[in-house]
Structures are given as structure tokens and as C-alpha cells.
């Protein structure tokens, strides 16, 4: 420190910008190294009308900017896929995207796939029983008001409920389907893919049914029915062929189409989703 400081005239000229380049430059060079003079500039700036920049407001904006939580990985993925930021937020806040929930789904699937890979005939049945119902359960959890309390106020906003629910459904499936497909690779033979059409059908049924009852309730009812059918078939024939037959698969496709049509027709009901309880 040299003991040299900006005198009051220089300070005033600096803040008022009436100084020359050389004087301004030496003032600036000095300010970088001299805390007392910086404090004097700050004080002068707040007095002199010239600094119209509202530093209190800038501080407010700065705080807002640093306090916004970083978007989740999934939300950033959605934005990367071209979804506008507010929609990405709406879609991603669904409980279904919480890591724990996904891990649970993955564990169930892994168990089913392992059972299928090592347990021969009976194991394949386990996979066939579990895989088709996972997507519809995940979808239901993705927009059931019980799982996501924030959903109710969202649904009464002008934002179209149909769009919100479909976006969430697609987003959930984009996560769940590859997971099931991946685990399906462990399963020998055609069974690995036989679950796809039933899964699509069940998702559509849940969407349609949620115009009457709570999405989770619909998903659990559909899942129970499917489990009952599968165990009945297993007890009777001991083979997975029935579900693989072209006629059965066409049936699931028809189920999906019909349910989706009902869902679209009754979409106005989506504004008042029934809760689980």
C-alpha cells in the first residue's frame, strides 16, 4: 500500500464520469487494491444520483437465481428433448420419478427376470405376470392425486389436464418400458416381448378407468385381474403359449384402442380426478 488515495475531487470526478482516461485508469487501478477507497466509491455512488442501478433489487434477483433448485436429471432430459421448461417441471415433479420409487420398480422387475431366466417354465410365468402390469402401475402412480398432492391444484389451472396426464404417461413409459425391455432380455424365447401389447392395453385401461375412479385403484384392479388370469392359466396348462397366440395379442391391441377412445371421450372428467382415499 502506497499511502496514496483518491482525493475527494478525483473520487467525485470518477463517480460522475467527468475524469479523463488517464485519471480514470489510475483510479480504477488503485480501487482494485484499496478497500477503503472502494468503500468510499460505494458510499459516493449511493449518494450521487448517477448510479441509478438499484443494487438492492439486483441483490434480490441474485438471491432468487441462486436459490432456485437445480432441475433434476430427468427434468433436464425432458428439456433436452425439446419440452419447454415449465412443462418439463410439471411432468417431472410426479412422484413416480423419485429415485426410490424407480429403484423399487427395477428391483421387482429384476426379481421377475431372474426368476424367468433360472426358474424355467414357472419362472417365465412370473415374468409374464409381473412385466405387463409394471407400466400401468407406474403410470397410475405418475398422476394419482394421492401420490402427488400438487396435482389437484395443477389440474384446475387453465393448463389442459389431458395434455398434462398424457405427457406424464409418455414420460413415465419412456422410463419404465426400456427398463422392462432390458430385463426381458434375460428371459428366453418369445416371452421376452409377449408382455408388450398387454402392457399397452393395461395402460390404456387405467387411463380410461381413471375418468371414473382413482388411477391407482384402477391400476390395482387391472393388475389383480391380470394376476388372477395368469395364475389360472398356469394352473390349468402350465405353458405360456396362450398369451403368445396371435388372437390373444390382437385382443390386447383392441383393448388398448377401445380404452384409449373412451379415455379421449371422457377427458373432461380428468379435471376432477378421484383420490385413492
Amino acid at each position: 500500500m502506497t499511502g496514496w488515495h483518491l482525493d475527494d475531487d478525483m473520487l467525485r470526478r470518477y463517480v460522475e464520469r467527468t475524469d479523463s482516461l488517464a485519471e480514470g485508469a489510475s483510479a480504477e487501478q488503485h480501487l482494485l487494491a484499496c478497500e477503503p477507497c472502494r468503500a468510499r466509491v460505494n458510499a459516493a455512488a449511493s449518494v450521487i444520483e448517477l448510479s441509478v442501478i438499484d443494487l438492492a433489487a439486483v441483490w434480490g434477483h441474485t438471491r432468487d437465481a441462486i436459490e432456485v433448485p437445480r432441475p433434476s436429471v430427468f427434468e433436464r432430459l425432458l428439456r433436452g428433448a425439446g419440452l419447454p421448461a415449465p412443462e418439463a417441471r410439471l411432468v417431472a415433479v410426479a412422484s413416480a420419478f423419485r429415485g426410490v420409487w424407480l429403484a423399487g420398480v427395477a428391483a421387482v422387475l429384476a426379481f421377475a427376470a431372474l426368476a424367468a431366466a433360472f426358474g424355467h417354465a414357472r419362472g417365465v410365468w412370473v415374468f409374464l405376470a409381473v412385466a405387463p402390469i409394471v407400466p400401468c402401475l407406474v403410470v397410475a402412480a405418475g398422476y394419482d392425486p394421492w401420490m402427488d398432492p400438487a396435482l389437484e391444484p395443477e389440474l384446475v389451472t387453465p393448463y389442459p389436464a389431458l395434455r398434462l396426464i398424457l405427457l406424464r404417461t409418455i414420460a413415465v413409459l419412456a422410463l419404465a418400458l426400456p427398463a422392462v425391455l432390458l430385463f426381458g432380455l434375460l428371459v428366453p424365447g418369445e416371452t421376452a416381448f409377449a408382455w408388450l401389447l398387454p402392457a399397452v392395453g393395461f395402460v390404456a385401461v387405467v387411463l380410461a378407468a381413471s375418468t371414473w375412479v382413482s388411477p391407482l385403484r384402477a391400476a390395482i384392479a387391472v393388475s389383480s385381474a391380470w394376476l388372477a388370469v395368469v395364475s389360472l392359466l398356469a394352473a390349468r396348462s402350465g405353458s405360456a403359449d396362450a398369451v403368445l397366440q396371435a388372437r390373444a395379442q390382437a385382443g390386447f391391441l383392441a383393448l388398448a384402442a377401445a380404452s384409449f377412445a373412451i379415455f379421449l371421450v371422457r377427458r373432461r372428467r380428468l379435471r376432477q380426478l378421484r383420490t385413492w382415499r
Binding site: 467527468t18 466509491v41 449511493s46 441483490w59
Partner: protein
């Protein structure tokens, strides 16, 4: 000095997510940074944005300060570059060097020549454009490309103006005070 924590202590506290220290750092530096930035750019909104960007960057990467030199100089380095990048995204806003157009009063001129001697006079004789380039490149330490964004001129103009300004200063200093 008094018992107030110095800037480095504050910065360490900011790295520990201490909002109080961050606020103190802001109050200590936002004012003079705003004044200095406003000397580079007349658009107050842009300056305000640049200040905000600067402190958000400080909050996100407080360890970017390597411990060499003054924290004030480090902050200025961030701030001027944030202003440049704000200018880059918004075209049509001219960064005006207001002080370059203001001629010092006669008595100030005398004072200046006493205090700065030949260099002060030589600088004062530069055209406003050349002074702006000298200020951006020599005094603010910007690259030619950054200076070009700040002044909204092509990079090639920055380079030729800088070259001419240097030649001019060299000649003025060699021939001595007029």
C-alpha cells in the same frame, strides 16, 4: 484494520454456503463494480444483469479464486466478461464510452499534466475510438475478441485501432510534451 472479516475469509465462508458472508461480499463490491461497469456500458439494465451474473457465478464457484492477487481484481475480471457475454446475446445495444467524449476542463488539464505528465496528454489526444480500445485491451485486460464484443466493432477494427493508438502514443512520447 478493524475486526471485519477480509474478503478471502468471506469467500471461504461463501464456499461453505454462508448466505450472510455472501451478502457482505455483495455489499462490499457490488457498488464499485456497478460504477466501473457503467463506465463501459450505458445500458443500466445490462449492467445490473452483469452484476447479478457475477455474483451468481461467485456463489456457484467460490473456489474459482486461486488466491493470487486481490479478490477485487478477480471480481472485476468476472464482471467485465459477464458484461461482454450479456452484450453478445443482446445486439443493438451500443457500449458507449461516455467519458471518452468529455474533454477535461482547462484547469483539470493542467492538473493532469502535472500528475500524469506526458502520458496523460498523449492519451487525451487519442480519438475516442482509440481510447476505448486502449481502455478495453490495455487497462481491462480483455482479449481482442472480447473487446470487439464490448465495443460492438469487428475484431479487425480492434486490432488496427490498437496498433494505431500504440504508434500514436509512442510517437507522442518520443517527441516529448508539446
Amino acid at each position: 484494520m478493524d475486526s471485519r472479516p477480509d474478503d478471502e475469509t468471506l469467500l471461504l465462508a461463501v464456499a461453505e454456503r454462508d448466505m450472510g458472508a455472501f451478502r457482505t461480499l455483495y455489499e462490499r463490491h457490488a457498488g464499485w463494480l456497478a460504477i466501473r461497469l457503467a463506465r463501459r456500458c450505458n445500458d443500466r439494465d445490462l449492467v445490473a444483469d452483469a452484476i447479478q451474473d457475477t455474483f451468481v457465478a461467485v456463489w456457484q464457484k467460490p473456489r474459482g479464486f486461486r488466491g493470487d492477487g486481490d479478490i477485487a481484481a478477480w471480481l472485476w475480471g468476472i464482471a467485465i466478461r459477464r458484461l461482454v457475454s450479456r452484450l453478445r446475446t443482446r445486439s443493438g445495444v451500443a457500449a458507449v464510452f461516455e467519458n471518452a467524449g468529455v474533454a477535461p476542463a482547462a484547469e483539470d488539464q493542467v492538473l493532469l499534466s502535472v500528475e500524469y505528465g506526458d502520458i496523460g496528454q498523449a492519451l487525451a489526444r487519442l480519438s475516442p475510438e482509440m481510447r476505448a480500445v486502449i481502455q478495453a485491451v490495455v487497462l481491462d485486460g480483455l482479449s481482442a475478441k472480447e473487446a470487439a464484443h464490448l465495443l460492438q466493432v469487428p475484431v479487425s477494427s480492434v486490432k488496427t485501432r490498437l496498433y494505431r493508438a500504440r504508434a500514436h502514443l509512442r510517437a507522442a512520447l518520443a517527441e516529448g510534451p508539446s
